[in-house]
């Protein structure tokens, strides 16, 4: 498993993996959806799309899941918690490196001044 080369990730898969990674021990359906919604803003994300992607990432061996204890605020139902596996971390690293290379190429093509201005605008939008 450790030697397996990860497949490239789709954009939504990257968002879901990033959300699980940043939520650490508190990564389950509702929190992952909220985090993905935050990362994908202003795009609307459905809870169902998150479940489909979680299942697909689990099938690929990028994440693992387990059931927590039932909680009263969920009507006595258990959560399915997720964590990123080593293969998933590698896939996410590769995606981040590719994104960085893309950013560098865009910066080179359109100039550093543009990149600075765009960075400021993006920062304001993201709050």
């Amino acid at each position: 498993m450790a030697d397996r080369k990860p497949d490239s990730l789709g954009q939504f898969e990257q968002l879901v993996l990033t959300a699980i990674l940043s939520l650490r021990e508190n990564a389950y359906g509702v929190t992952i959806h909220a985090k993905v919604q935050e990362l994908a803003a202003p795009r609307d994300v459905s809870l169902g799309a998150v479940y489909v992607t979680l299942d697909r990432l689990e099938d690929k061996g990028y994440i693992a899941s387990w059931k927590s204890d039932p909680t009263p605020e969920r009507g006595g139902r258990a959560k399915r918690c997720y964590r990123v596996e080593a293969l998933g971390e590698r896939a996410l690293q590769e995606s981040a490196i590719t994104a960085k290379r893309m950013w560098d190429a865009v910066e080179q093509a359109w100039g550093k001044q543009w990149a600075k201005g765009w960075g400021k605008r993006w920062g304001k939008q993201a709050g």
């Binding site: 508190n26 509702v30 929190t31 809870l47 099938d59 899941s65």
Partner: protein, 242 residues
């Protein structure tokens, strides 16, 4: 984050728990495949703010949850084998009992309708199958449900547009052969949803763990019996025809 989303502050400042109605939850739970039912119903419960929001959330989540489960339980090769077995069953029934039917208008399409409905029934049955110990009788349950669904579709077609319905004898005869063929295919290639699994086991392990049945093990007698039964049925059909 996300904790206690189902609670809002009341007018008095205290926490007023809000929860979906039991009926709504029961309907949602029924529509979601059992493998992911608990966590999805729990998540929807936690996100509850109003009945309308709950209904919209459920409507946007349930179809995708079903599709995701089908993607996990349906092996394309086995699905193709079962589809072939189903179509062959109805085609074989027509061939054995009344070949002239095959030369009527839309005959091949009419034969495909119950096969397609039965295939849909098999796929849904696999998605809704609870993980548990494998049992040969449970493997027959799927084909039995699928054939019943195909016969029901024929009954409704007869009420709606009889031109596309099969004659009764053909639907019943084809259904019986389909039941046998599909049961054998599922005994040789058991559906993934019927395997035992642990909650914390990655799903890709579950898929890999579904190995073809051990023909030298405890199923060998069932498989042999099914084959003998098929040979006897086909032999009887050929004997009565010629």
């Amino acid at each position: 984050m996300g904790e206690g989303l189902g609670q809002t502050m009341g007018q008095t400042g205290g926490l007023t728990p809000q929860r979906p109605s039991k009926l709504a939850e029961a309907v949602v739970a029924f529509l979601i495949p059992p493998a992911s039912r608990e966590e999805i119903v729990g998540d929807l419960h936690e996100r509850y703010r109003s009945s309308t929001q709950y209904a919209i959330d459920a409507a946007r989540t349930i179809p995708l949850a079903i599709v995701s489960r089908i993607r996990r339980t349906a092996d394309p090769q086995v699905v193709l084998m079962q589809a072939f077995a189903l179509y062959l069953s109805f085609l074989g029934a027509a061939w054995l009992r009344d070949r002239s039917f095959l030369f009527t208008d839309w005959a091949l399409l009419r034969l495909a309708i119950p096969a397609a409905v039965a295939m849909l029934g098999l796929i849904l049955e696999d998605a809704w199958t609870q993980a548990g110990p494998s049992n040969p009788l449970l493997l027959v349950r799927g084909p039995a449900f699928a054939v019943c669904l195909a016969l029901l579709s024929q009954a409704s077609l007869r009420l709606g547009d009889p031109r596309f319905a099969l004659p009764n004898w053909l639907a019943l005869f084809g259904g019986a052969i389909a039941l046998l063929f599909c049961s054998v295919v599922r005994m040789l290639f058991p559906p993934a949803g019927g395997q035992l699994h642990q909650a914390n086991a990655p799903a890709h392990w579950l898929r890999r763990s579904v190995a073809p049945i051990d023909v030298h093990g405890r199923y060998s007698q069932v498989i042999r019996a099914a084959f003998v039964l098929i040979v006897l049925v086909v032999g009887y059909l050929v004997w009565t025809k010629y």
